[in-house]
């Protein structure tokens, strides 16, 4: 409970901070950053598309760490973090796999390119959806946390292999090389890009803190309910 109360302070700080930094990022992207010559305005999708991909990966890494910590310490604080992070990761991966095709369609005239990064993103999406489904289906609270932690570890270890396989798959069977937009980023676009990255990271931390606290409160409430039930009926 003390941990939670201290967390509140962060709320009042992180929320406004996320708001301000996101506003600055949007200003940088639309006003300061120059328009790309070949792709035109659609290139502006890039800033938040890549930032969302970064946040998604970070989120799943946090699930991995949280899962290991839960299995070692058996503290439900870590379970709360893992669940929150998995949910946020799914939201941001959804952003990645929807904005990616919109961009690809206008630039390469194909919705889905099976680019290895996009392939990895959609497989991650399935893995962490499975994580959420597993939590719904597991059963008792202790088992839910334990099984989710196990799957959180397995799922994350799989991601590098998915990426490696996706890369070689494209190399062997779809050897069309698209010009990699992140490689040749104009120096004038870099400030906007890094601020977007920073802004989404702050937003992630804010959502994580908020969501984790809700998960812990939910657990506390369930315990309280059981106690009351016992008092009244038991």
């Amino acid at each position: 409970m003390v941990k939670m109360e201290r967390g509140r302070v962060w709320d009042y700080f992180l929320g406004p901070l996320a708001y301000v930094v996101l506003s600055v990022a949007i200003y940088m992207v639309f006003v300061v950053a120059p328009e790309e010559k070949m792709m035109g305005v659609v290139q502006k999708i890039f800033y938040f598309h890549v930032s969302a991909a970064w946040v998604a990966f970070l989120a799943f890494f946090v699930v991995f760490v949280g899962s290991i910590m839960f299995l070692i310490k058996r503290d439900y604080f870590w379970d709360g973090i893992s669940l929150a992070s998995a949910e946020i990761g799914v939201v941001f991966t959804t952003i990645v796999i929807t904005t990616g095709p919109i961009w690809a369609k206008t630039v390469w005239n194909a919705w889905w390119t099976w680019d290895p990064k996009l392939t990895t993103a959609i497989i991650m999406w399935f893995i962490y959806l499975a994580y959420v489904v597993l939590r719904l289906a597991a059963g008792e609270e202790e088992k839910t946390a334990r099984f989710a932690a196990i799957f959180g570890i397995i799922g994350f270890l799989d991601v590098p292999l998915v990426f490696a396989a996706g890369r070689w798959w494209q190399k062997t069977f779809h050897p069309i090389v698209f010009n990699n937009p992140s490689g040749g980023l104009d120096p004038a676009m870099k400030p906007a890009f890094f601020i977007s990255l920073f802004a989404f990271t702050i937003l992630y931390i804010y959502l994580l803190v908020k969501s984790t606290r809700i998960n812990l409160m939910q657990r506390e409430l369930n315990r309280l309910k059981d106690m009351v039930k016992e008092k009244i009926y038991g």
Partner: protein, 225 residues
């Protein structure tokens, strides 16, 4: 008894039980055959395209009928509280995992060996020159499948949703094995030089190793009471 010998004892038990009832193997076999026929109709397999889709057909068939076996392997133990008996045996829990994995591996290999000739016959594919390579791919691909599959089957069997959960958990994690097996099989059947597809064997090897070692470490936690 050593760790490995204990695991083999479980394998022996599973195989004896299966050869006694023949339930699972016969279902898996019939399922694999009907899949073969369905694919033949669904894709209207003609000479021009058979080479492109054959590796996919073969692996989907093996993985899907393998899935039937996986679902069965822990469900059957839970059914009559046999899993509790296994857990009470004076062995490491990871021995149970290794044993179950190996017996699933044996069952899958039996199905593969029985159905493989029929693929060549029904789909009219010439046997590749380097058939030995194909057997190696078959080995590593199936091993990766049963390693992670057995582990997640144990996990799914202990949830409320039980067996319907397994495909959703398993297939996303299995993607590297699916890509690796299919791509390497294409390499063999297209008679490509080894260097062009050897990377897939490496990916399969790393995957197999990783998802045998990690489940061995985590199995104790999975079966905690």
């Amino acid at each position: 008894m050593t760790f490995f010998r204990k695991a083999l004892a479980i394998v022996e038990k599973d195989i004896k039980a299966e050869f006694h009832s023949k339930e699972m193997l016969s279902v898996m076999l019939v399922f694999a055959l009907i899949m073969l026929v369905i694919f033949n109709f669904a894709f209207d397999v003609k000479k021009q395209i058979v080479n492109d889709i054959f590796p996919g057909i073969i692996w989907i068939t093996f993985f899907f009928s393998g899935l039937l076996g996986l679902n069965r392997s822990f469900f059957i133990e839970k059914n009559q509280d046999c899993l509790l008996g296994l857990m009470l045996a004076p062995v490491d829990r990871s021995v149970i995992f290794l044993g179950k994995m190996l017996s699933n591996f044996v069952f899958l290999l039996i199905i593969e060996i029985l159905t493989l000739p029929l693929f060549f016959i029904f789909l009219n594919i010439p046997v590749p020159q380097k058939f030995g390579f194909f057997l190696i791919i078959l080995f590593f691909g199936s091993l990766g499948f049963v390693a992670i599959g057995t582990f997640l089957a144990a996990l799914a069997a202990n949830t409320r949703a039980s067996d319907i959960l397994l495909p959703v958990l398993l297939f996303p994690v299995l993607i590297p094995v699916i890509l690796g097996s299919v791509a390497a099989t294409k390499g063999v059947f297209f008679n490509l030089p080894f260097s062009e597809w050897s990377i897939w064997l490496k990916i399969l090897g790393v995957y197999d190793l990783l998802f045998i070692v990690v489940p061995l470490m985590l199995f104790e936690i999975l079966l905690e009471v």
